[in-house]
Symmetry: none
Subunit: 198 residues, 4 copies
Amino acid sequence: MPRQASSAPPVRGRPRDPRTRAAILIAARALLERGGLTAVTIEAIAQSAGVSRPTIYRYWPNAPAVAMAAFLETTGAAEASSKPRNALSALRAQLHALADAFAAPAGRSVAAMVAAAQSETELAKAFRNEFIARNRDATRALLERCVADKAIEPPEDIELTLDLVFGPLFYRLLMGHAPITRSFVDRLVDQVIRARCT
Amino acid sequence: MPRQASSAPPVRGRPRDPRTRAAILIAARALLERGGLTAVTIEAIAQSAGVSRPTIYRYWPNAPAVAMAAFLETTGAAEASSKPRNALSALRAQLHALADAFAAPAGRSVAAMVAAAQSETELAKAFRNEFIARNRDATRALLERCVADKAIEPPEDIELTLDLVFGPLFYRLLMGHAPITRSFVDRLVDQVIRARCT
Amino acid sequence: MPRQASSAPPVRGRPRDPRTRAAILIAARALLERGGLTAVTIEAIAQSAGVSRPTIYRYWPNAPAVAMAAFLETTGAAEASSKPRNALSALRAQLHALADAFAAPAGRSVAAMVAAAQSETELAKAFRNEFIARNRDATRALLERCVADKAIEPPEDIELTLDLVFGPLFYRLLMGHAPITRSFVDRLVDQVIRARCT
Amino acid sequence: MPRQASSAPPVRGRPRDPRTRAAILIAARALLERGGLTAVTIEAIAQSAGVSRPTIYRYWPNAPAVAMAAFLETTGAAEASSKPRNALSALRAQLHALADAFAAPAGRSVAAMVAAAQSETELAKAFRNEFIARNRDATRALLERCVADKAIEPPEDIELTLDLVFGPLFYRLLMGHAPITRSFVDRLVDQVIRARCT
DNA sequence: TCGTAAACGAGACGGTACGTCCAGTCTTTTT
DNA sequence: AAAAAGACTGGACGTACCGTCTCGTTTACGA
């Protein structure tokens, strides 16, 4: 009887110390937060994680990749609020949460990741799948609940609706031409779904 | 007798060769287009412009600044179409033009500049003023013409409307989760101004 | 009854696979021949011997040590010719054989070992005892046979005579200022023992 | 009127600071003396010369090359003694000087350079031309003076004679099977030129 | 026959040095 | 006085090996 019936290959060689990976990501995240992307150098990570440079390269191919991993690992996607409420106010709450994050220092990290993603397809893919897609999924689910609850009229094109909701948020985050306030989010939501409100 | 009697200080020493500045910007733009931001190094610019490194530093403080200058210099803002037409179709045409640019290779340069702007306030300001603001101004003008022509209802918050138009465009450009097609622009415009259409 | 009554401790655990040692030495020798000393890395040996790095360290302390072992193992000392002949011509034959080896690609390995010996006492000792001494012993024996046969006058200082014979050979091998030809060996021998020829 | 009439191109750009080169060589020499070849790393040189790593690479291609340059720069070739004397005793004096150097710690540097020369043709050439050849030239000149003075019979092959003199010295230096004493040199010289002594 | 102990492969890990690239600055000569 | 060229410091890059370690697996022997 095989010990490992399914897919995973039996572990060969010395297993990785999980603390190593964790230390690297924590260090990277810290560097990212103050200092931004340019502060996330392999050198600095190694230093502050108490890890050797080659070890980092054993996990990731370059510094931005570590930064992205750190970002995605430590940035929870939009979680459904624990408080039960009607779908529309849950939607509002979710977007407020995202907007708050964007307005907070953490927003700079998001912006940094968007920037990082512009110069490496691999990072772009990771960011898209792990951050963008998750946020869209969460919001899409709520929109569908709204429709089911008849709180809003069914949108013709739900993906476009998502673009209309997230687009302006990222636009303000990245261009900085105007602040991301709660009232901004409110007006944004109003505008996007008003046409279909009963 | 001074050559420049009035405000400007009399030019002393060897005058700057205007071709130098041009050569640098052209080289930077070329590097930006293929290779992206990371290819725009002072080293490479100097090389391909046939100019010495210190000379470049005499004009700009660092490589991204040159890239930004090159981008802004060679990227015309949205121009009003020469053909006279009604305001609404002019608006559509303008956004189509922008979308086409975003979809073309040049879109990568825009994305690169957004990325560059994330790590330097100075660049962010330049980009905002020279690119973002210009585009918003042009579109705002058309929107106002639409209102004047009674083609659309006056929007409550015109800045928000602009965010709703540009946000999704940049969002798709930067995240790449979906293509920027003509139909996308059409549906976007429809959605944003439908509520106010007569 | 213990298998090894005397000094050695009874073999416990899995015995060493003799093929392992052989594979390592063969790989090391091959690497040494093309590539020289710098090519003999533990990494490369392990790779081409199909052996893990720690295994090599179980046998030798470092890469030059493996190289030296490989060299000494696969390089026979000057053998007495099978054909019986008079002592003087046997001496000549022996030195010609050495000179031929020096002139051949194998000479580069000898030079590499001399070089290796310069930075590690342990290697120096091994090389001296296993290569230098053996060659001197063989030649000393022949010189003594020559004396016994009255082919040459007894040298005052036989060690100096050996230095006079071997010194120039190594000197040319290592400095490369002149080739190691057969005629060179002939003239060398003539010169060294002429004074004492009958 | 050209400032530099002959071959050299007029110096463009900032000239090299001669102290930089000197500092590097001094540091390299010091490292070579204690620590041997393996201690001469670019890293260490840069450190102790107060110079950056890339600067060293601007002068030499790798660490052994710096070591060789340092060795050759700071190791004067055998100089003719200032005291006037007859050719034969001058010859003896010269070889004694070399032997003393070989026996001293500096001898280790010579050995290190021989070793270094075994793995790079470029270094071998430099060492041969700057060290080996110079020593041979000096001794050849004295041998010729001896012949002119009729102190010794003209050797049939003066290059072979030089090999007979230097070979055993290097042989002992590199193999370490016997010390390089003054008496060794005396007996060596006796042996090599006795045959031709009047 | 069944532990036990070593051999062995695999790979993690901290290190050290490598050789390179680029950034900025400084020091010259040339225009 | 600017431009042009190149020296120079300095920081980080990504890679190659090193030597040690920690595993899991294999193989022989001896109890």
